[in-house]
């Protein structure tokens, strides 16, 4: 499958990149490209201009700063998975990074790119020819969502592996544009809208992840279940963060809803069965993949059980 035509530019600074994104409506950021280029071959993503931000320096380092751990958005996943500070303070993040796709995807793909990936659905992630069997689906610019046979709503899933572990650690993200920068909770950038999964202002570029100091004092785990042990997106991905000191427990999922799901109200002191119930109630997966929603729901509880088992 050939790529569609587009213009290409390599800005050397963030302000420049941001201005380009604001000026050109159809401009899209190129990081590792492992998600976007596939979607382009499928013609569900048709940028008029590709903005390769990999020439902008300073976006791919991992460092401790004032007690926090800062991870540049362009850090390759492979580096995240082997970085000594990540392994020590946020092992769940390393587990997640080493579970993404295959070794090659971890080399090419970046943590920022993984977070900002497009949502997925069996009716959406298909070639243009495949999708011509039906009218365009809502996410692709049409009217109907074929998952639920309703109009004007999208039931695609967010399937990125990195989100759950970051969310359970209360990660923040730094968003930069031509005007300046802001730092917000990662959780807030996920819109829950299957058609436009990210809440970013026009021209905003995610440059950095910040893990707060207290989150690095707990235990973090990521567990992924997929058909195969490589290449595949998660059927369900689950992360857990626990602090035995404070008794806090945080759980998050990917691939079960239109955005990653954070489970509210779980406590380390609760019974395992109650935590599992809370977890599996936190989202209602739909049949938008070749794996059944009921299996996903089951796995939400099972993965949590397995991770809780590791705490002891």
């Amino acid at each position: 499958m050939r790529l569609p035509k587009f213009e290409y530019i390599e800005p050397t600074g963030l302000k420049e990149a941001s201005s380009i994104l604001i000026k050109e409506g159809g401009a899209r950021i190129l990081a590792g490209g492992t998600d976007m280029l596939v979607n382009m071959k499928h013609r569900v993503d048709l940028p008029s201009l590709i903005v390769n931000i990999k020439k902008i320096p300073g976006l791919d380092s991992i460092r401790k700063e004032n007690g926090t751990l800062k991870i540049g958005a362009l850090t390759p996943l492979k580096q995240v998975s082997v970085n000594p500070d990540v392994l020590k303070f946020a092992p769940g993040l390393a587990q997640a990074a080493s579970s993404v796709g295959s070794y090659h995807h971890q080399t090419m793909g970046t943590i920022g790119g993984n977070i900002c990936q497009q949502n997925r659905c069996k009716y959406f992630n298909q070639s243009k020819w495949w999708r011509s069997s039906r009218e365009l689906c809502f996410k692709a610019g049409g009217e109907t969502c074929y998952v639920v046979n309703k109009k004007d709503i999208c039931y695609s899933s967010y399937c990125g592996d990195m989100a759950p572990a970051l969310l359970t650690m209360n990660a923040k993200v730094k968003l930069v544009d031509a005007q300046g920068a802001r730092e917000v909770l990662l959780e807030s950038i996920f819109s829950g809208d299957g058609k436009n999964p990210l809440n970013l202002k026009k021209g905003e570029i995610l440059t950095e992840f910040v893990l707060p100091e207290d989150s690095m004092k707990g235990i973090s785990i990521y567990r992924k279940t997929a058909n195969r042990e490589s290449i595949d997106f998660p059927i369900v991905g689950a992360a857990l963060w626990a602090s035995k000191e404070s008794g806090s427990l945080r759980i998050a999922f990917t691939a079960v809803d239109r955005k990653p799901v954070v489970v509210q109200g779980a406590l380390l002191t609760n019974k395992v069965e109650d935590i599992m119930e809370l977890a599996s109630k936190s989202a209602r997966p739909v049949n938008n993949s070749v794996y059944s929603a009921s299996y996903k729901k089951k796995m939400m509880g099972m993965l949590v059980k397995s991770m809780l088992g590791e705490l002891n």
Binding site: N125, W129, W130, E229
Partner: protein, 766 residues
């Protein structure tokens, strides 16, 4: 002690391994010719529809487009690999019968322009009701996929052996179970491709095609492009795997030739992975019902078998597939009374074709699963049950099979020993288990016409041996194995053999790579050619050495009287003397071989032995269930395998190991999922093609039975080992959690459901 053979039986790298590791092996898509055009195909988005109108005007005007054709532009000559089952056209005529059927072909100066051209074509369809399951398709009133095929049954077989159904009256126990095996894609790494070039002065077509069947392809091109076979040359470049998916002519072959003739320029067609999933071939999904009658003492007395194969929209190998599926119930166990009926049913889905095992994996899964259920019910150990019912060499066979060598019962014993059967079966903790499956496969089919092979071998004055063989090496190493056979016979080394293969313009005919017949058929043809050459050489050398030609031995470039290698004549010396005696060089030997059959018959109408020999094997698996996710981990897979004589043990092991991964995919990971005829996972992102992470520990045990018909005693080793891994795994799952699964694949979800039911019903294990 000297080894029996010096080249046969040696672990030797493939002849073309060097070029492959350098990336220098030339596959079809690596061929670039001056002025070459690129073709692409527009395919139907609907499973069943009338073609109302095709507007190609915009596409024709696109700069760079050099040709556009539809079904209206091509002759009304259907094709297919089995002559009596021809039902396909390269481009759909009147209606489309499956999502992905070819409708329009274009060629352009650039692949990108060709793709753009497809976007400019407007096809109007009128959708028709479709059928998506064979059991629905055979019902009265179901939509017909082909108007001339009532009940959508395009091929069927009914046979009865022994007393047939009556024999069930004499059985002490009768078991009746229904099983299902899913759609699986061969998924060779190399996509289907063809490059064609036409010489208008001579009216000659040359086509390079990633194919398993160069000679059949030539015939199909001839009848559809309307050029005599003698003016068509099919050349098979290196092929990146086939597994059966490259048997058949495809639209790409036809259209490349058509456009090459129309434009006067070379034309390349390359399929992308999605096209391979929807528009080539897949393993037939199959409903299989088995009724088995047992005697109290554990012997199989009667068996009845019903199969409904989901053929998809076209036949491909239909009559052959359904026949093989049924016939192969008669090995490896003694089944004195057998009835079967098999149906190949059209549906509006991707086309089923030959896939490693060709209809037999599905049947074998059913039979081996049921055998285990029978063993449990009767309180007999499954290994012992298999040994008890095992065929043996030379015993009379209800179907007329001539089985000269049979290592089956030995394979059961050896596989059981290697997996630790006695210590483990029924004894491992809940969640772990062992299981086994037995199988047998023909080394190509005889009792059919057309399946012959020829070879020419030449010994030149440089001491090199040229081998011309029609055999189609698709990566399994056929050229190497045949070269080893020739090298052994002539007493030279493998590196002395120069192979030219699978070029219909140069090499003698070979039927092609299917049915696991190449080693025996093409190997025997080459052996005969080498023997004929050796005879001429030995006649001369014997005179020179004042010996009897029958006493001469050739080995490792030396010719000597048996027992006196120290007084031998080096081959180069013999050649030199031969030349100086003014005898014509090169010395040529010719051979041709067809599997012995009492008379030319067809498999479908006659009984009798229809394979030159049969391989036998048992596979045993150990599995471990993850109770949280339901995932099944195959811990170890053992194969005890009788392929007569392994000509090249390194390559035989490669076949076993590859087969096992394919079997694991079949059992656990792979499924071509369709919704109303549309494949939902037509890419490697969503299709469960096993990765290295899914690989178990693998052990292979060779059982050598030295078959009299096979070259140097060889039997097949390409397909048989893909029959039993799936049942072995599913039988092991029974041992692990006490659940009988009747359909494939066994997904984690099914396991979790079963575990839950186990808890609810407090079901004890075994």
């Amino acid at each position: 002690m000297e080894k029996k053979y010096s080249v046969v039986g040696a672990r030797l790298p493939m002849l073309d391994a060097g070029e492959k590791v350098k990336g220098a092996a030339r596959f079809t898509d690596d061929i670039v010719l001056p002025g070459m055009l690129h073709g692409k195909i527009l395919r139907s988005p609907f499973p069943h529809a009338k073609i109302l109108n095709i507007d190609t005007s915009k596409a024709e005007k696109l700069i760079g487009v050099k040709g556009v054709i539809t079904g209206r532009d091509i002759p009304d000559v259907p094709y297919g690999i089995v002559p009596k089952a021809k039902d396909e056209f390269a481009l759909a005529k009147i209606k489309v019968r499956h999502v992905g059927e070819a409708v329009v072909a274009v060629c352009a100066t650039d692949p990108e322009i060709a793709e753009e051209a497809l976007d400019l074509i407007k096809v109007e369809y009128e959708q028709l009701p479709g059928v998506f399951d064979p059991l629905d398709a055979i019902k009265e009133g179901a939509p017909l996929v082909h108007d001339n095929t009532p009940n959508n049954i395009s091929a069927s077989i009914h046979k009865s052996f022994g007393e047939g159904e009556k024999a069930f009256d004499d059985c002490d126990l009768v078991f009746d179970n229904t099983f299902y095996s899913q759609a699986v894609n061969h998924a060779p790494l190399e996509p289907h491709a063809a490059v064609a070039q036409f010489d208008p002065l001579k009216g000659e077509m040359v086509i390079w095609s990633s194919t398993q069947i160069p000679f059949f392809l030539r015939r199909n091109i001839s009848t559809t492009i309307l050029i005599p076979e003698s003016k068509i040359r099919v050349i098979k470049p290196r092929v990146g795997g086939g597994f059966g998916q490259k048997i058949d002519m495809f639209s790409k072959d036809f259209c490349a030739c058509w456009f090459a003739r129309q434009t006067g320029r070379p034309v390349k067609f390359l399929y992308d992975r999605e096209e391979i999933f929807v528009a080539t071939r897949q393993r037939h999904p199959m409903y299989v019902r088995v009724k088995t009658g047992m005697k109290k003492d554990g012997t199989i007395h009667a068996q009845r078998f019903w199969a409904h194969a989901d053929g998809g929209a076209y036949n491909s190998t239909a009559p052959l597939m359904i026949t093989l599926s049924c016939y192969f119930l008669m090995v490896p166990y003694r089944v004195p009374n057998l009835v079967y009926e098999g149906y190949h049913v059209y549906t509006n889905k991707p086309v089923g074709g030959a896939m490693r095992g060709h209809g037999i994996p599905q049947a074998r899964f059913a039979v081996e699963r049921q055998l285990d259920m029978i063993a449990v019910e009767m309180g007999i150990d499954p290994a012992e049950l298999r040994i008890k019912n095992s065929l043996h060499a030379h015993e009379p066979h209800p179907g007329g099979f001539i089985i000269n060598t049979c290592g089956f019962s030995e394979s059961v014993e050896k596989a059981a020993e290697a997996i630790g059967w006695r210590e483990k079966r029924g004894k491992l903790p809940y969640g772990r288990g062992v299981g086994m499956g037995g199988a047998s496969f023909p080394s190509g089919v005889s009792n059919m016409s057309h399946l012959a092979s020829g070879a020419v071998v030449q010994l030149g004055q440089d001491g090199a041996v040229t081998l011309l063989t029609g055999a189609a090496d698709i990566g399994q190493g056929a050229e190497t194995v045949i070269a080893q056979i020739v090298a052994e016979e002539l007493g030279v080394r493998l590196e002395d053999i120069r192979v030219t293969a699978a070029d219909t313009g140069i090499t003698p005919l070979d039927a092609g790579t299917f049915g696991s017949g190449v080693t025996v058929r093409a190997g025997n043809a080459a052996l005969e050619a080498a023997t004929s050459l050796k005879k001429k050489l030995f006649e001369f050398v014997a005179k020179e050495m004042e010996a009897n030609p029958l006493d001469l031995v050739a080995r490792d470039r030396l010719i000597y009287v048996k027992g006196s290698p120290d007084k031998g004549m080096p081959l180069m010396e013999a050649i030199k003397r031969y030349r100086y005696a003014d005898l014509p060089m090169p010395i040529v030997g010719r051979g041709s071989w067809m599997a012995p059959a009492s008379e030319p018959t067809t498999l479908l109408n006659e009984e009798g032995n229809f394979a030159p020999n049969y391989s036998f094997m048992t596979q045993a698996a150990e599995v471990e269930i993850d109770f949280d996710t339901g995932k099944v981990k195959v811990v170890k897979m053992v194969t005890a395998h009788d392929c007569g004589t392994p000509i090249n043990p390194l390559l035989v092991e490669g076949q076993l190991e590859g087969s096992i991964m394919g079997g694991i995919g079949h059992a656990l990971y792979e499924n071509v999922i369709t919704e109303k005829g549309q494949v939902m996972n037509p890419s490697f992102l969503d299709y469960g093609f096993p990765t290295a992470m899914e690989m178990p520990e693998m052990e292979g045990i060779s059982i050598e039975t030295d078959d009299p018909v096979g070259p140097f005693g060889a039997k097949e080793s390409g397909e048989g080992t893909q029959l039993a891994p799936a049942p072995a795994i599913v039988n092991a799952i029974y041992d692990a959690i006490g659940v009988n699964f009747m359909e494939l694949p066994i997904t984690p979800e099914k396991i979790l459901k079963a575990l839950e039911e186990n808890k609810r019903s407090e079901k004890p294990r075994s």
